[in-house]
């Protein structure tokens, strides 16, 4: 749930990057942090294990600029992808306004994407939110691996298995190379802000 401060003319929205473990959620945030240094005053916060895996969340506050006189502050979070950390995932999801689902394009990860998406649906439902109503963008990550000959799921297959019912915007991306990281972010921000504006009326 976003915070709209009429006194300071400021809107804070929470966007969460969700998806299976080792899918590239943190890498998305790292790329954004690296490339928007002029807009991001604070450091990225990462609570991770020694193996560099997200333990609790990553956090990156981001000033989008002004919309209708309001300062828009977007807070980007990632969740830990590993199945066993569902309690922390639920904590991070609290009050979410928009979601980027980062799917792993590798053929061997097909099932894991589905499990994670179902998990997202369930966790949202427990918070009385619907995956069909919340602003959501899909990102099919790791497209760059094709160049190394690693078998990837074709775009159409990913669309069919993850986006058939959702019918939300989707992007092929490489978080590591930065391909489509920013378009994904722009899309989710505009969807989130639009949905908050609608709620305000």
């Amino acid at each position: 749930m976003a915070v709209i401060n009429l006194k300071k003319k400021e809107l804070q929205a929470k966007i969460v990057y969700y998806g299976p473990g080792r899918g590239g959620k943190t890498t998305n945030l790292e790329y954004i942090h690296e490339n928007f240094r002029d807009r991001i005053k604070s450091d990225m916060i990462a609570i991770k294990t020694h193996g560099d895996r997200t333990l609790f969340f990553d956090f990156l506050p981001f000033d989008v600029g002004k919309i209708k006189g309001y300062d828009i502050k977007v807070q980007l979070y990632t969740v830990p992808g590993q199945v066993k950390y569902n309690t922390t995932r639920k904590l991070v999801l609290k009050g979410v306004d928009g979601i980027v689902f980062v799917a792993d394009s590798m053929k061997v990860q097909r099932e894991k994407n589905l499990v994670s998406l179902r998990n997202l649906q369930q966790n949202l439902a427990e918070d009385k939110k619907s995956i069909f109503k919340i602003p959501l963008v899909l990102q099919y990550n790791k497209r760059d691996l094709a160049r190394q000959g690693i078998p990837l799921l074709p775009f159409e297959t990913l669309e069919k298995s993850l986006n058939r019912q959702l019918k939300v915007p989707s992007f092929e991306a490489s978080a590591l190379a930065g391909e489509n990281v920013v378009p994904t972010l722009k899309k989710i921000i505009s969807m989130t802000v639009a949905s908050l504006a609608k709620e305000l009326k």
């Binding site: 749930m1 915070v3 916060i45 609790f56 956090f59 922390t88 904590l91 609290k94 009050g95 979410v96």
Partner: protein
């Protein structure tokens, strides 16, 4: 979790925080919701913390501690306090969805701070429900 606060309410909340806590010598105080959003923040003019990160971490920390309490069969821990060499952080729950985070030095005693925090919480709850 949905809430709306009028400008007047926010103004009153800030007044309580300033008169009860900042005046007491607290370095900085944040009122946040459990999703990590900042509702009000005040400081004594000498600190410059990254309050957005602090709020996100405080909310996460509170969630984690609550989950620990549940595992060992406690409803909630009543005292949440981190002691540092120069700065300390104190957390208190406010209604169901909010947290009051106070950062203070050793010139302020923990007992007195807890007393004052409890007092301000009472007042803020009244304002929020008005």
């Amino acid at each position: 979790m949905e809430y709306a606060l009028e400008q007047e309410q926010l103004k009153n909340i800030e007044r309580v925080l300033r008169e009860d806590l900042i005046a007491l010598g607290v370095h900085s105080v944040l009122l946040i919701d459990i999703a990590g959003n900042i509702i009000a923040e005040l400081d004594n003019g000498e600190t410059n913390h990254d309050v957005y990160s602090l709020a996100a971490l405080a909310a996460g920390n509170f969630g984690a501690v609550s989950a620990m309490a549940e595992i060992i069969g406690e409803g909630e821990f009543s005292l949440l306090f981190h002691r540092g060499e120069k700065e300390n952080i104190h957390f208190s729950k406010l209604m169901k969805d909010f947290l009051l985070v106070t950062i203070f030095g050793h010139e302020t005693s923990l007992g007195f701070l807890r007393l004052k925090a409890a007092e301000s919480i009472g007042k803020i709850e009244e304002i929020m429900q008005s």
